[in-house]
């Protein structure tokens, strides 16, 4: 039986609706950080804007709530210059895949060592229920009264197609698994995505807790996460059965592995070398 100790990471009061799936995600995040024995001052949680994106407000680590859709660029840059930080992005599906879609693509390409936890409620929560990129075709909202006319995005397929090294799916209602996925994602050397199914009880009346509960199942050892084509086919599974777990895991060189001049002393701790600058100036002479 594990020793009971005071958790390092504490949670604050939230502005979420009672019963929201975000609570489970926040709890798992806290559990993951505690289990990893990280120190709050060395953890940076980044969000954009949205319900999910308020997560950094509610946990006592460093927090950065930037602009809607723009969580990834500052997160990546913070890690580039201050690699002692454990950088985690918690934000919404709209934030990550809608307004922020372009950063999602190129953050994967960059492969900086951050973890990206998407609270995927398949809806825009904070703005009261418009379709998000993952909303099903035909789902009716106030703004899509004839049903959403677009194909839903499959974030896992997308991440795999872009070459992400760690691709997983969690569910806010399976907290143990989610905590485990978060830990693995944080430990993973490189960009790691966990797309987290999250009921929004106020605005998504289709993908409810019960809807997910009925469909999700945990991937078992028969799934080989190092096999891309297996991962691609698991990523396409949606509807009656929805797999949870690590679909794909394979380390690739980091962005910084290609930039040897950044090895060694972190940028934040470097001092400029006057001799180098003098040489540059002299080169102009």
């Amino acid at each position: 039986m594990p020793e009971v100790r005071e958790p390092r990471f504490k949670l604050g009061e939230t502005a979420w609706c009672p019963g929201c799936g975000d609570f489970g995600i926040l709890e798992s995040l806290r559990a993951a950080l505690d289990e990893l024995e990280l120190e709050p001052h060395r953890v940076l949680v980044v969000g954009g804007i949205g319900q999910a994106a308020k997560t950094p407000q509610y946990i006592n680590a460093n927090g950065f709530c930037g602009l809607h859709g723009r969580a990834l660029p500052p997160a990546v840059a913070a890690k580039m210059v201050n690699p002692a930080l454990t950088v985690i992005v918690n934000t919404g599906d709209g934030d990550s895949y809608g307004e922020g879609g372009n950063h999602f693509l190129h953050t994967i390409r960059r492969n900086v060592d951050i973890a990206h936890f998407v609270h995927d409620n398949q809806i825009y929560g904070l703005t009261k229920g418009q379709a998000s990129p993952t909303t099903a075709t035909g789902q009716v909202t106030h703004v899509q009264p004839s049903g959403s006319p677009s194909l839903p995005m499959n974030p896992l397929m997308l991440a795999l197609a872009m070459g992400a090294g760690f691709v997983a799916r969690g569910f806010s209602g399976d907290r143990d698994l989610l905590t485990h996925l978060m830990i693995e994602a944080i430990r993973f050397r490189g960009y790691a995505l966990v797309d987290i199914l999250q009921p929004c009880l106020s605005f998504n009346k289709i993908n409810t807790f019960a809807w997910y509960k009925k469909r999700v199942y945990r991937l078992d050892e028969t799934h080989d996460p190092s096999d891309l084509s297996g991962a691609l086919s698991k990523a396409q599974e949606w509807g009656e059965r929805i797999p949870l777990g690590i679909l794909y895991r394979r380390e690739k060189p980091l962005w910084s592995d290609h930039l040897p001049h950044l090895a060694g002393v972190p940028l934040v701790d470097r001092q400029p070398d006057p001799a180098v600058l003098q040489a540059l100036l002299d080169d102009l002479t």
Binding site: V46, G63, L67, R70, A77, H261, V268, P272, T285
Partner: protein, 562 residues
């Protein structure tokens, strides 16, 4: 004494290299050099040219009169021949089959071929031109040998230069050397070097003419300097990355031109409300939208001042010349850091691409730990990022570096802890805290540069890169017996009013000289002082005003107002 050479041809004919080689030699001989570039938005073909002025005194602008032309194609002859002064020359390869006055048709290609280096036509022409100006072979050879190792210079072929040297006799007296050590650089280099001297460690940008040269220079030197130069997927990412890097503890910057700046506007406000220091470079080009990508304009001033929803303190500083660009870029980082605000640097294509000699730039590295608090002595987890202070500045810490202290920042309105609030009282407290910084910022403002006759009843007002042409224009006007004074603004927002208050009331003629169509400086001055201009000299065709154009425009404005 100064001379003025024009090198013209199609994109892809190697003119850029030739220009760099010629000016490098001229500078090393000891002359002051001033080079401007006129190029089209295409990679091959079209008509591009450079103008290289050199002489014994500092040069501040291109001149309309040409001593000589090197024409790599007939179009260059056609377009520029008329500007050649009496006694001047138009150097062409004899193979072009051109004849006419001033024409100096020489076997450039044949000589190059003879040496087994058909590519070396440019070096042959280099030899011809240097010889025409009476430069001796011995010093020249030493210089040419010295250039061999230089990066980015594709060294001239010494044999070919010698061959050209042998084709003509000296025609012109060389100017006397400047007699002091000089740096030669363009506005893009100056900004990059100023940023490095300010200890910038992170530069993220998306390529956009005419700002790309800053990124390119920094990237070329990132290994020695140990900085991050990251090409972002778009300008939104670029500025948000810079904000993230700055939050995480290093000095950070982004750069772009107007179109990219548009995309950065939301994050400018992010820097404002997060109080994360940020330097943003906007190298202006003519708009709207794509406009004239490789040309110059000063039409983003009001936009830079007002960009972003809501209200927050910022500074807007225009860069006036290369030395100023070096100094002001460094200053921008200090101000951004001290006041935890965004500082916008306004450059333009003319300044970015104009290379000139300046007295040696001093190296003074300014980043110290003084703008970061160590937060020592605080209770665990008691650090408040936005503690309300009298001057509006709350001490920053670097995340991860102070055990048991964390910080939260939020683009929503927030309390001292950085937590979202909605109350009127807290909103007002935080907005007031931010705007109190303006008092400090006002104390830092630099008055505009004053040139010319302090007693003159004609006052010219200009900003940014018109500083160079204005210097020569003011001298010309004074020489012509029209006494004028001129204020050249660098700091533009907040607008320093000391000189204005002193000089505007006495000025009968108040003439703004701007590289735009609506008179943005004039509108700003009127907004702040209530005083309107009496005349305008405006140009918005994408080409920089020359001193002669300014002189003509000012004379006309004075006459029509008198």
């Amino acid at each position: 004494m100064d001379y003025n050479l024009l090198l013209g041809g199609a994109a892809g004919q190697g003119m850029e290299t030739l220009t760099v080689q010629l000016e490098a030699v001229l500078k090393r001989v000891g002359f002051h050099v001033h080079t401007t570039h006129d190029y089209m938005s295409r990679i091959r073909g079209g008509h591009n040219f450079s103008q290289i002025r050199f002489g014994d005194l500092p040069l501040w602008a291109p001149s309309s009169d040409l001593t000589g032309v090197l024409a790599l194609n007939p179009e260059t002859v056609l377009i520029h021949q008329s500007r050649v002064c009496p006694g001047g020359f138009v150097l062409v390869d004899e193979g072009l089959g051109l004849t006419g006055p001033d024409l100096l048709a020489l076997p450039l290609a044949r000589m190059a071929k003879g040496l087994g280096e058909p590519q070396a036509i440019g070096s042959v022409a280099l030899g011809v031109m240097l010889r025409l100006f009476g430069i001796g072979w011995e010093p020249l050879e030493a210089i040419l040998n010295g250039l061999q190792g230089k990066k980015d210079l594709r060294s001239p072929n010494v044999e070919a230069v010698r061959a050209g040297f042998g084709l003509v006799e000296p025609r012109y007296d060389p100017p006397s050397p400047a007699g002091e050590a000089l740096h030669m650089l363009n506005g893009s280099h100056a900004v990059a070097l100023g940023a490095l001297a300010a200890d910038m460690r992170f530069y993220a940008a998306y390529p956009m003419t005419p700002s790309t040269a800053v990124m390119t220079y920094l990237a070329e030197h990132m290994v020695e300097t140990g900085v991050v130069v990251e090409q972002a997927e778009d300008e939104i990412a670029a500025i948000n990355m810079a904000i993230g890097a700055s939050f995480a503890g290093v000095r950070a910057m982004t750069g772009t031109s107007g179109g990219g700046f548009c995309l950065m506007v939301e994050a400018l406000g992010l820097s404002g409300i997060l109080e994360v220091p940020l330097v943003v470079l906007n190298v202006q080009r003519p708009g709207p939208a794509t406009g004239l990508p490789t040309r110059t304009e000063q039409a983003d001033l009001r936009f830079a001042i007002h960009a972003g929803q809501g209200e927050f303190p910022r500074m807007v500083i225009a860069l006036r010349d290369v030395a100023d660009a070096y100094r002001q870029t460094q200053r921008a980082f200090d101000l951004a850091d001290r006041y935890q605000i965004p500082v916008i640097l306004l450059s333009d294509q003319y300044l970015a691409d104009t290379r000139r000699t300046v007295p040696i730039l001093p190296l003074r590295i300014t980043r110290g730990p003084r703008f970061i608090s160590d937060a020592s002595g605080l209770e665990p987890f008691s650090y408040r990022r936005y503690v309300i202070t009298e001057d509006g500045i709350s001490p920053r810490i670097i995340p991860g570096q102070v055990p048991d202290q964390i910080q939260c920042v939020d683009s929503d309105e927030h309390d001292e802890w950085g937590h979202i609030v909605e109350s009127s009282v807290q909103r007002v407290a935080m907005a007031d805290k931010r705007s109190r910084k303006l008092a400090g910022i006002r104390g830092e403002l630099e008055e505009p540069l004053f040139l010319g006759d302090p007693e003159a009843e004609t006052l010219l007002l200009a900003w940014g890169s018109l500083a160079g042409p204005m210097r020569e224009a003011v001298s010309l006007l004074v020489d012509q017996g029209l006494p004028v004074g001129a204020l050249i603004f660098g700091d533009l927002w907040p607008l320093p009013t000391g000189e204005l208050e002193k000089r505007l009331p006495r000025a009968l003629h108040r003439i703004h000289v701007e590289q735009n169509g609506t008179g943005q400086l004039a509108s700003l001055i009127r907004e702040v002082t209530g005083v309107s201009m009496t005349g305008s000299v405006l140009k918005y065709d994408g080409r920089q005003l020359t001193p002669v154009e300014i002189v003509a425009g000012v004379r006309k404005a004075v006459t029509s107002h008198a």
